[in-house]
Amino acid sequence: MAAPQPINVEDLNIYYGDFLAVEGVTVQIRPRSVTALIGPSGCGKSTFLRTLNRMHEVIPGAYAEGKVEIDGQDIYDQRVDPVNVRRRVGMVFQKANPFPTMSIRDNVLAGVKLNNRRISKSAADDLAENALRGANLWNEVKDRLDKPGMGLSGGQQQRLCIARTIAVKPDVVLMDEPCSALDPISTLAIEDLIHELKEEYTIVIVTHNMQQASRVSDRTGFFNIAGTGKPGHLIEIDDTEKMFTNPENSQTEDYISGRFG
């Protein structure tokens, strides 16, 4: 496998219909590391995250302009199929959303099964086990793989969703406030998992929780808006340690020290 390349974002403008939600983001996201995005509500950090696998355009009227390069390919190129982008850039959502009609095993294999891809039973078993092990869920569910995914606890459901995402073998995993609906113990489990996952995946995580950002991430980006109705901007991105101790920008400092947000 070739050496992983960074994600290059250049001059990205993100719109909801006529409304410019995020303006002029230029950033390089390092591979095999965790990048956290923080900022006040409505600053566009989740919106930005969703443009990295073209999930943004699922919302009616939403689109993005600019360049996002993954592995040297601009994913907003005319010829690129968003479906293939999403296979290489997986996503975990704020609220755990396992498929209610599927068992735990089928949920993990959803990426394969929903795509009508044929796979032998043993390969499927291996894939499910590896993905569940990868998500630190194997020991908890190995005896009830055929039970519905909705029967798990909230934290388990979220790890199931992570297992489902890594079963597709993406290069990048995007996480949109994955712990905001979870209790502290489940949150800890997921944070541990993120540490392990960065060995293999490039991870971008949006979080409201600055402690979490400082705990899990290598680099942290700060988004902010000038006011309601104004577009969000990426104010600053740097190594997490530097961001939380000695940020360059005064807005970042104000936010991190809890003066607003």
Binding site: V85, R86, A110, K113, L114, N115
Partner: protein, 386 residues
């Protein structure tokens, strides 16, 4: 928090408006009934119906007057309205109960007492059955009803389902949104099309292209019924598809699943119980339609399996036909078919009996469909939220 009004209200009520327990209604009710019976007995018009009717009216009066004396005018009014509303409900229950009772008692009797064997009514047809003969059955009509409804479903379900998919999954922006609004409006219009107009459409459509103006065939009926069925399917399905959380679609897209597979394997799969229920209810609705079939498929006495050639019998039109035939003439105890010399017992009421029996059959089919629909939605719906 002790404003003068709240402090004063309880005193006011206990002084002027003592509330009576509900069982005082029974006393006034009984009084009304007794007086009604007495009055009716005097004018010699006593019957159960008249006693209940007059008793209810008198109860309104007594209950109101009694409450007025003991509780004051405001509560008397309340009592009067409560009684009126319960009365409205009783009035509505009356036709339902009476209708079901008549259909079951008269229809089931005929089905069970069918000649020559019980349930022969469901396995024989009307060929060779002459006037007054206490025989014959609806096998051909059941087959016709099921065939025509099947074809109507074959036309309506895909169109209705895809229209619903269009409205929910595709009509979200630009010209598709405009088109979606138009479709929603037209589906509303279609919902209001009188069934006889649907029948006329089926007829006009085919006689416009056929040399024979008197052409009638099963497929014409199926087309006419589709016109009534499509809007129901669209509306029920649309409602069900909208219940599928956006979360699940996003989860699927994020796994790199294309839109159409997301629709088939996530949206439809999640909504399948609701969709089946909706479709079953739509079928139950059109299976009893009569007017369009009168115009488009006519009536025959024996079975016709061919949807594209010749008239067909159906249960609703069979009921109508037998009802129109009215009472038969019975000169003798028996009647004889002059062609095959078959001898039947003669019954004056045979046509009406057959109408009730066919109505019973139809109601059974409709109710089974309704119950199946409810069972499906009850047992097979995935639990969407915990």
């Amino acid at each position: 928090m002790s404003s003068p009004t709240t402090a004063k209200a309880p005193t006011m009520r206990s002084a002027d408006e003592r509330r009576l327990p509900w069982y005082h209604l029974i006393y006034t009710g009984l009084a009304g009934l007794v007086v009604a019976i007495a009055v009716l007995a005097i004018v010699d018009a006593l019957s159960v119906a008249s006693a209940i009717l007059l008793g209810f009216v008198l109860h309104l009066l007594f209950g109101w007057a009694y409450s007025l004396l003991r509780e004051g005018p405001r509560w008397a009014m309340d009592r009067l309205v409560t009684l009126l509303i319960i009365g409205a409900f009783a009035i509505a229950m009356f036709p339902l109960v009476s209708l079901l009772w008549e259909v079951v008692s008269r229809g089931m009797t005929r089905v069970l007492a069918a000649k020559p064997t019980p349930f022969a009514f469901w396995t024989t047809d009307m060929s060779g059955i002459i006037g007054g003969a206490d025989a014959g059955g609806v096998f051909h009509a059941i087959a016709g009803t099921l065939l025509i409804t099947l074809w109507a479903s074959i036309i309506s379900i895909p169109v209705g389902l895809f229209t619903a998919i269009f409205l929910v999954e595709y009509a979200d922006q630009g010209w598709k949104r405009t088109l979606g609004r138009g479709v929603t409006f037209l589906v509303d219009v279609m919902t209001g099309i009188p069934s006889i107009v649907a029948g006329l459409f089926g007829l006009a459509l085919f006689i416009a292209f056929m040399p024979d103006q008197s052409v009638r065939m099963g497929i014409m009926g199926a087309v006419a019924l589709s016109l009534l069925m499509i809007p129901t399917v669209v509306r029920n399905s649309e409602e069900m598809l909208r219940l599928v959380p956006m979360d699940l679609r996003e989860a699927s897209y994020a796994l790199g699943v294309p839109k159409w597979l997301t629709i088939v394997k996530v949206v439809l799969r999640t909504a399948i119980a609701g969709l089946t229920t909706g479709v079953t209810l739509a079928i139950a609705r059109v299976i009893g339609e009569t007017a369009p079939l009168l115009l488009t498929v006519g009536m025959v006495t024996s079975i016709n399996w061919n949807m594209f050639d010749g008239r067909m019998a159906t249960l609703p039109t069979f009921i109508n036909q037998q009802y129109r035939n009215g009472n038969a003439n019975c000169m003798n105890e028996t009647v004889t078919n002059p062609i095959n010399q078959e001898v039947y017992a003669c019954s004056v009421t045979t046509n009406i009996d057959r109408a009730w029996a066919a109505a019973f059959t139809l109601i059974v089919i409709v109710m089974v469909l309704n119950i199946v629909a409810r069972l499906i939605s009850h047992y097979f719906s995935p639990k969407l939220s915990r």
